[in-house]
């Protein structure tokens, strides 16, 4: 469908907003359920005699589990749309069914993973399962809703050649890849190891020795998502929001031409410069490390 420029920009802004929410909630869902790379430490902790009260699902890698969830929502939505349901209702019902299925995976995954750690005396806390699983389902519902809505807009309004389930699958895989790359670092690098020395990477010797005390009482996954919602989640949202917005913005403004491609290259160059500015700032703030300074002085 060909839209005028104002309408195209409005649609693009809506997609960017949906993507930002989806990215943010996807990362928070992976924190509250503990998934992807940081979960390796949650899995390792009982083997180091660090028993904990953290949910441990890790259904699969984040892109695959989110792709599964999004494509499930997309398929249900497509079926309901064919049955002449109102689009918004179809997307809500599709996302809800996908989230429930995701919740089943989360529950069985948590029980299965903890059961496999019997020899390390890691208990399966039923209270953790009872009040964390609904939170996982709720987060996943919002993610699914946003991703299927983006897929619907691309298919029905913008006229993309792919179907709703396939577009939802692609965005599910992408949101998982971004969440795994961005927000999980905040959970794995900072929240799990708040006892490490500030301003340096995590020493390998600390692997598995995760922090188990919360701001009040014993730490659980709800405490983790509270912390990560302050930075990790929103940063992931920005990552996906920028992706969705800037991958379509050049062609929306400059059409399907080489000029649009050139603008895309320019955007990437600006991002590289911004990354360099951040690099300079953190290098000045935290390094070089003390022993290296001493060595330099000794050498001089």
């Amino acid at each position: 469908m060909v839209l005028d420029l104002t309408m195209s920009m409005a649609i693009l802004a809506l997609m960017g907003a949906l993507a930002t929410i989806a990215g943010c909630l996807e990362d928070l869902e992976s924190d509250v359920g503990s998934q992807s790379n940081p979960n390796s430490q949650v899995q390792l902790a009982p083997q180091m005699n660090f028993l904990h009260r953290i949910y441990n699902k890790a259904i699969s890698g984040e892109p695959i589990s989110n792709g599964l969830s999004a494509v499930t929502g997309g398929i249900v939505t497509t079926v309901l749309l064919n049955a002449k349901f109102f689009p918004l209702l179809a997307i809500v019902v599709g996302a809800f069914i996908a989230a429930i299925i995701y919740g089943i995976f989360a529950t069985t995954s948590y029980a299965g993973r903890v059961a496999s750690q019997t020899r390390f005396k890691q208990p399966l806390y039923m209270d953790i399962m009872r009040y964390t699983t609904p939170s996982i389902i709720a987060h996943n519902f919002v993610v699914c809703f946003c991703l299927v809505a983006i897929a619907y807009i691309q298919y029905a309004v913008l006229g993309y050649p792919f179907t709703i389930p396939f577009l939802a699958l692609i965005w599910g895989i992408s949101v998982g890849a971004i969440g795994s790359s961005v927000g999980d670092v905040h959970y794995g690098g900072e929240r799990e190891f708040q006892n490490r020395e500030f301003g340096c990477g995590l020493n390998t010797a600390l692997s598995g020795r995760i922090v188990r005390r919360a701001e009040s009482g014993l730490r659980n996954s709800i405490d983790n998502v509270w912390f990560c919602a302050k930075f990790g989640g929103p940063a992931t949202g920005i990552g996906l929001g920028l992706t969705v917005f800037f991958s379509s913005w050049p062609t929306t403004i400059w059409g399907y031409t080489w000029t649009a491609i050139g603008v895309g290259v320019f955007i990437v160059a600006i991002m590289a410069v911004m990354n360099r500015l951040v690099e300079i700032q953190v290098k000045n703030a935290y390094g070089p490390y003390k022993e290296d300074k001493t060595e330099k002085e000794a050498g001089a």
């Binding site: 050649p161 895989i173 905040h186 690098g189 020493n203 692997s207 930075f231 990552g239 992706t243 070089p288």
Partner: protein
């Protein structure tokens, strides 16, 4: 005996080339795996397959849209659209990830594979903290990742372009769906092949591992992609 059509051979060859482009692309992307997620290694804190496929598939969306709305689009333009989408996805991811490393975890960006950054010339070894293999995404890793993502997106765009040329005359309505799913399959095949070579982590073009594994992985990928291309052409026989 069935006559061998030169166009068919060219299509298989192009799919082989595009699969190889995706395979080479994976080596450029600075992937740190689980250690990077804990700020124990340089690069992006996730796996090779997840990241390469995630960025490449965004490129597939942009290239397919370009193909659908610019019927006169050349192969180069469709490939460039794919490259742009993938590069923007990976640049956004690395920028947002860099913000987390800098202000969420508080680590300076440092490569453990080179003493000085080949682009900025800044010392790296003095910023690598004790007990780690570097942290964050230094400039060389960022640039290498963007170039890699562009290769991957261009490869995806090329497969889609070739497959649409084969399937459109046969099944016009569903051609995009079949071509899209097949492209995704080729993406995953060629993202997995380099994973064995890089062994989970690679910093990018400056990593010594790059020169060591790229030739072997490229040949493997080309052969496997040719087989994928053959299958892509063969299944078109059932569409008539």
């Amino acid at each position: 005996m069935v006559a061998i059509d030169p166009t068919m051979l060219m299509n298989i060859f192009l799919i082989g080339i595009s699969g190889t482009l995706i395979c080479i692309a994976v080596h450029f992307i600075p992937v740190g795996g689980a250690p990077a997620a804990m700020a124990q290694a340089t690069g992006i804190g996730t796996g090779t397959v997840e990241l390469a496929a995630g960025s490449g598939l965004v490129g597939l969306i942009t290239s397919s849209y370009m193909y659908a709305y610019e019927p006169q689009a050349s192969m180069a333009l469709v490939m460039a659209a794919g490259a742009m989408g993938s590069a923007i996805m990976l640049a956004s991811t690395m920028l947002a990830g860099g913000l987390i490393y800098a202000y969420g975890v508080a680590v300076p960006f440092a490569s453990a594979q080179v003493k000085k950054d080949p682009i900025t010339g800044q010392r790296q070894d003095t910023y690598v903290s004790k007990g780690t293999q570097g942290q964050g995404i230094p400039t060389i890793c960022f640039v290498s990742g963007v170039v890699g993502a562009a290769f991957g997106g261009a490869g995806g765009g090329l497969i889609y372009f070739v497959l649409m040329g084969i399937y459109s005359p046969l099944i016009s309505a569903s051609a995009a769906a079949v071509a899209g799913v097949f492209t995704m399959g080729v993406f995953y095949v060629n993202s997995v092949i380099p994973s064995y070579g890089v062994g989970g982590t690679i910093e990018g073009i400056h990593d010594p591992k790059f020169r060591r594994v790229v030739p072997k992985d490229t040949i493997t990928s080309f052969v496997v992609s040719l087989i994928c291309g053959l299958v892509a052409v063969l299944i078109a026989g059932g569409m008539v």
